[in-house]
Symmetry: C2
Subunit: 331 residues, 2 copies
C-alpha cells in the first residue's frame, strides 16, 4: 500500500497526535477520546460551535478549530461517525453556558450520534442546537443518507456560524445563520480515481484509465454517472451548471465559489478548473464575490474535485470575511 | 491521462488565469508573460522580492505573492525555467527604486536565467541582488544542478526576506537575511510514486508497488536510494536524521520544521509523519519553535513528502512570525 502510515488501525490516533504536535498552543485533546478542542475551550461569553464526522476528509474538521470557526471537532475512524459519547463530551467541553451549535454533515450515522449526544448534553443542562448540511446536489438519497449528502459546503457553514458566534450572537441566531448557508449552497463532485482507505489498502471502486465518475461523494460511494474522461473545462461545466441549476442562481446575484481538491489532485489543476468556473459565472452575469481554491473537504488520496457555489447577501459576506485563525483557514 | 487539464500545452497559461480569476484584487499578470505580480507592484519605499522557476510546484511560487512575502513570481513551463526576458520584466515591474532581491532555487537553468535577467535589469539602473537556495541535503550534485538542489526550504526564505523587506530594510539587509536562512536550512524528500507531467502523461520514473525512492527532487529526477516500502515512522526517521546530521543541530537549539506534501499525499499522512518528526526532535532535546504541515512545494501529483528543518534565532523567529497575506500563506 502506497501510504505514509504505520499500523492502519492507529491512523486516526496518530494523525490527531501529529496535529497536536504541530499546534500545541492552539489545540488540546479530550482525554481518552478522538476529540480536539481549542486549548482555551470553553470560551467565555460565546456560543460553542462544534462539528465532527468520519476521518479521511482532512483538513475537515479539526483543521478549522480556532478563533472565528470551530471550538471543537470529533474525529471518527476513517469514513465512520464518532460515537455519541465522544460527541457528548465535546459538546460539554465547548459549552461556556451560552449553548452549543453542532454542525452535522447529513449522513445517517452522524445525524443519529449527534442527536443522541445532544440529548445526553441537554440532560446535563447544556442547550444544544443543530444545523444539518446537505449541499451535494448530485443525489437525492445515497448509500449512507436519507436526503442529500453533506460535503464541501460544510466549510462555509463552519465559517459563517463561527463568525456569528465570535460576534456574541445567541445560539438561535448562530443556528439561523447556519440554516441560511445551507439553503443557499450547493456542491457537485467528480472523481478521477477512487480513494484508498488505510485499512483496506485497495481502491474502494474501480475506474478505468479513460473514465471518471460524476456526482461522487466523499467516501468512495458511487457517483451518479460514469463517463468517459473529460477535459478540465468539460468537468467544470458539468459540475457548475448542475449546481447553478439546483440553486436557481440568476444573473446579478453574488456568490462565493469553492473549487475543492479531493486530496490527490494538485493545486495547478484546481486553478485550471477555477478558470472555467469563473468564465461560466461571468457569462451568466453572476458575480463571484470570493473564490476559494484548495483542499478543504477531501476524500483521502482521491483524485478529483468538487465545485461549490453559495449565494451570499451582505450578512453572509460579512461573516465569511470576518477574522478567523485556524490551522487550515485564516482571514 | 488522469488529470483535470485541457490541452497540456495550455497548462501553465490556464493555471495562471485560474489564479487571477481567484485573486483578481491581489494579482495581475504582466502582459504577454507568465509573470504574476502584486496588483500594487512596485510597492513604494520597499525592496522588491521576487522568485520564480518551473511550474508544477504549486503553490510555489505565485501562491506566495502578497504583503510580507513576494512581489512577483515568474512561472516557466512545467519543470522548466522561466526565460531571462520574463525574469527581467518581473524584476523591473517590482522595483520601486529600492532594488530587487531574486530568490533562486539552485537549478542550472534558473540560475543562468536569473543571472542574465539581473544583468539586463541593472542596465536599466535597477539594483539587483540574489539569494540562491540549495537546501536539499540528499545530493551534492544532481541531474539539473551543480551543487545541491533548492527545494522546500525556499518557502522559509520567501517568508523571511519578504518580512524583512516589508519592514523597510535595505537590499543588502534583505539579502543577508536570505543567506542566513540558506545557511541554516536543510530538506530531504521521499517519493512513493512518480509525478506525471501533463505533456508526457506517464510516470517520469517507475517505482514498484512495494518500493519508495529516498532523496528525491521535485522534478521526478532520481533519488539517492531506492528502498523497500517503509512505515511512516521509518520514513520520518530517515528524512529527519539525515537533515539534522547535515545541519549539525544540537540539543537546546530551536528550529522550524516543515512536513511538506508532494502534491498527491493527503494531509492526514503528513500529520502522521509530523508526529514522528516531533518525537525525534523531542528525544534529542531540540525545540520546535514552529511546525508547518501542508503542501508548500509540490511535484505535481507525486505521492510523498519532504522534511525541512531550519535553525532559528530571534531575528528569524520574528521574521517568520511577521504578518503575511498571500493566497497560500497567512500569518
Amino acid at each position: 500500500m502506497k501510504k505514509l502510515v504505520n499500523d492502519p488501525s492507529d491512523y486516526v490516533d496518530e494523525m490527531l497526535d501529529g496535529m497536536l504536535a504541530a499546534y500545541p498552543d492552539r489545540l488540546r485533546r479530550l482525554d481518552g477520546t478522538k476529540v480536539l478542542v481549542r486549548s482555551d475551550a470553553p470560551v467565555d461569553g460565546k456560543v460553542g460551535v462544534v462539528s465532527g464526522g468520519g476521518s479521511g476528509h482532512e483538513p475537515t474538521h479539526a483543521g478549522y478549530i480556532g478563533d472565528g470557526m470551530l471550538d471543537g471537532a470529533a474525529a471518527g475512524e476513517v469514513f465512520t461517525s464518532p460515537t455519541a459519547n465522544e460527541l457528548n463530551e465535546m459538546v460539554q467541553a465547548c459549552d461556556a453556558g451560552e449553548g452549543v451549535l453542532c454542525v452535522v454533515k447529513n449522513y445517517e450515522g452522524d445525524v443519529m450520534n449527534f442527536d443522541t449526544a445532544g440529548e445526553m448534553a441537554e440532560m446535563e443542562d447544556v442547550e444544544v442546537a443543530q444545523v444539518v448540511v446537505d449541499d451535494d446536489v448530485a443525489v437525492e438519497d445515497s448509500l449512507y443518507t436519507s436526503g442529500r449528502r453533506g460535503v464541501c459546503g460544510t466549510i462555509l457553514v463552519h465559517k459563517a456560524v463561527g463568525a456569528k458566534a465570535a460576534a456574541g450572537a445567541s445560539l438561535e441566531e448562530v443556528q439561523a445563520v447556519g440554516e441560511k448557508v445551507v439553503e443557499n449552497v450547493g456542491t457537485m463532485g467528480v472523481a478521477l480515481t477512487s480513494c484508498v482507505t488505510p485499512e483496506k489498502g485497495e481502491p474502494t471502486f474501480d475506474l478505468g484509465e479513460e473514465e471518471l465518475e460524476l456526482g461522487i461523494g466523499i467516501h468512495g460511494e458511487p457517483g451518479t454517472e460514469r463517463a468517459e474522461m473529460m477535459s478540465a473545462d468539460e468537468v467544470a461545466e458539468h459540475l457548475t451548471e448542475k449546481v447553478l441549476e439546483d440553486l436557481d442562481i440568476e444573473s446579478g446575484e453574488e456568490v462565493v465559489t469553492i473549487v475543492n481538491g479531493m486530496g490527490g489532485t494538485p493545486q495547478s489543476e484546481l486553478f485550471i478548473v477555477n478558470r472555467k468556473v469563473q468564465e461560466i459565472l461571468d457569462g451568466k452575469g453572476v458575480e463571484t464575490w470570493d473564490a476559494w481554491v484548495g483542499d478543504y473537504m477531501t476524500s483521502l488520496d482521491m483524485m478529483g474535485c468538487s465545485v461549490t457555489v453559495c449565494r451570499v447577501d451582505d450578512e453572509l459576506k460579512d461573516l465569511l470575511n470576518a477574522d478567523a485563525d485556524t490551522p487550515a483557514l485564516k482571514r
